[in-house]
Subunit: 304 residues, 2 copies
């Protein structure tokens, strides 16, 4: 339908990540047809120069590729195979690039189902957050066949700073994302637990942050999330509910594979406790409030 170097894209999901991605596709010369149940999201995308459609199927009927940037596997299933779903109207050979964090087994099965209808799947869960989605600097953990990579080339180029290519089997990208989320979730909860111990036992928490940041106890998440705890600022960059979902997905993957994951299970309970206490929409660093509930102390501390 268009120059093969800049395929027309049906973009499903104009949320906090999707909108930034879709705008970067526009900037790089793609025709993009956006779909989202939210009128505000559609309006934001139209203002940026995009067009919209009423359903994934309507958008996919005019496109070479469908990018799916929704929240979970249930939504992926609905936008692809539900009423007005994209697959039924996508041309033969068309690409589905799925960017949600989904169970590896779901993505593997999706690749097989799309193969039967003559479509190709790039399993491409993303990370990086809203800011990097806006700047076109996301990281994708990808797997898929050569035709899928060829079809996705310009889309990846317009939206990413880094693309990990993990082989030709759909599901591997999602598995590696799942492994990353296990570590990310455990590390955020561990950062909260460690800072809570420091605070409860009377240390200067900003000094502790400085020491740990330069020591063997450091993690990417410690460096990134502890400042939110120190500032008592839980404006959501990524919400508690994301890890309620993602650690659930991690544990299901362990369950299916008959592998016990005791640390992920413990961390999951902490995020569930945070959500249950009413903090589900706060930044995930708010898991520290679960520890703070256990005693009369605060991890936060005035800036020095």
């Amino acid at each position: 339908m268009t120059d093969k170097n800049t395929p027309t894209v049906a973009f499903i999901g104009l949320g906090s990540m999707g909108l930034g991605m879709a705008k970067n596709l526009l900037k790089h010369g793609h025709k993009v047809i956006g779909v989202d149940p939210s009128a505000a999201a559609r309006e934001a995308f139209t203002k940026a120069g995009g067009t919209t459609a009423a359903s994934p199927g309507e958008a996919a009927g005019k496109a070479d590729a469908v990018v799916v940037a929704v929240v979970n596997a249930t939504q992926v299933e609905t936008v692809l195979y539900g009423e007005g779903g994209a697959v039924a109207s996508l041309r033969k050979g068309g690409l589905v690039m799925q960017c949600a964090t989904v169970p590896p087994a779901f993505s593997k099965s999706l690749g097989e189902r799309l193969g039967k209808t003559g479509h190709v799947l790039l399993d491409a869960p993303m990370s990086g957050g809203r800011v990097r989605a806006e700047s076109g600097e996301l990281t994708f953990m990808t797997s898929g066949g050569a035709p899928a990579y060829a079809a996705a080339e310009s889309i990846l180029a317009a939206t990413s700073a880094k693309v990990f290519r993990l082989g030709d089997a759909p599901g591997v990208g999602s598995l590696v994302k799942t492994v990353n989320q296990l570590l990310a979730g455990v590390h955020i909860a561990a950062a909260a637990e460690a800072m809570a111990l420091a605070a409860k036992a009377g240390a200067d928490t900003r000094a502790v942050y400085d020491v740990i940041s330069a020591s063997a106890g450091n993690s990417w998440m410690f460096g990134n999330r502890v400042p939110h705890m120190l500032d008592d600022d839980f404006s959501p960059l990524s919400a508690v509910e994301i890890f309620v979902k993602d650690l659930g997905l991690v544990l299901n993957t362990g369950h299916e594979n008959r592998l016990p994951l005791p640390l992920a299970a413990a961390a999951h309970q902490l995020f569930i406790a945070a959500a249950g206490a009413g903090w589900g929409k706060l930044d995930d660093a708010a898991v520290v409030k679960v520890y703070e509930q256990a005693g009369d102390f605060k991890v936060s501390s005035p800036k020095g």
Copy 2:
């Protein structure tokens, strides 16, 4: 007894960390009197130019400062206050620099007891391992009064790359070390758990290592210990038993402070399981073998 800029040091504990430290003190012009129950350790130190004494008390009677580089609080107590202990013969105003990982409350109490006998304590747990002990590049997490810092200045200069100064109250150095060990232990176990999930679910574990090392799931321990798992090489740099001990200390600190530490508790159980299976003297990365026992898979993989 000597130039105040290079005090004579009674050095208690010529083990994997202590021997390297004591040799660096010699290199920097200190007179050092070593004490260790192992004849082989004493011989190694004598060959390096040190002298030895039969007891901590004998060494301390000739010294300005006592450096204690033993394994735990029980040993610190014994070498300072047991039969032939150092404190009874250390001159008034003399320094005790305690470098073990001990409960913060023990170190706080030690500072008070030493104060009553006219001595000063630098609470100075160390990290960095044998290699950095040898090269004089340890990290110390310290607290103590100005006289203790003054007395320890040349000792710290000869043995460290970095000294965190955490205030004048003994116990704070040990608390921050405890917080670091919580994170370090949880992160090693989490690295094992994540790599086990990757392997059990069929991923290329070396590819997973590369992706995570560049992603939000990364930690200092992930980068340092996962290569041991990939190579199936558990030559002990730091042993499983160290975390059986240190996470026990972490949990006791939480217990005393009435703060639940569910992640540290789960990680502790895993290191206990590894030790129980006979792997206590292997490198702490061998905690991955606890996960491998749960199924027919290996995290290790031939080098690409």
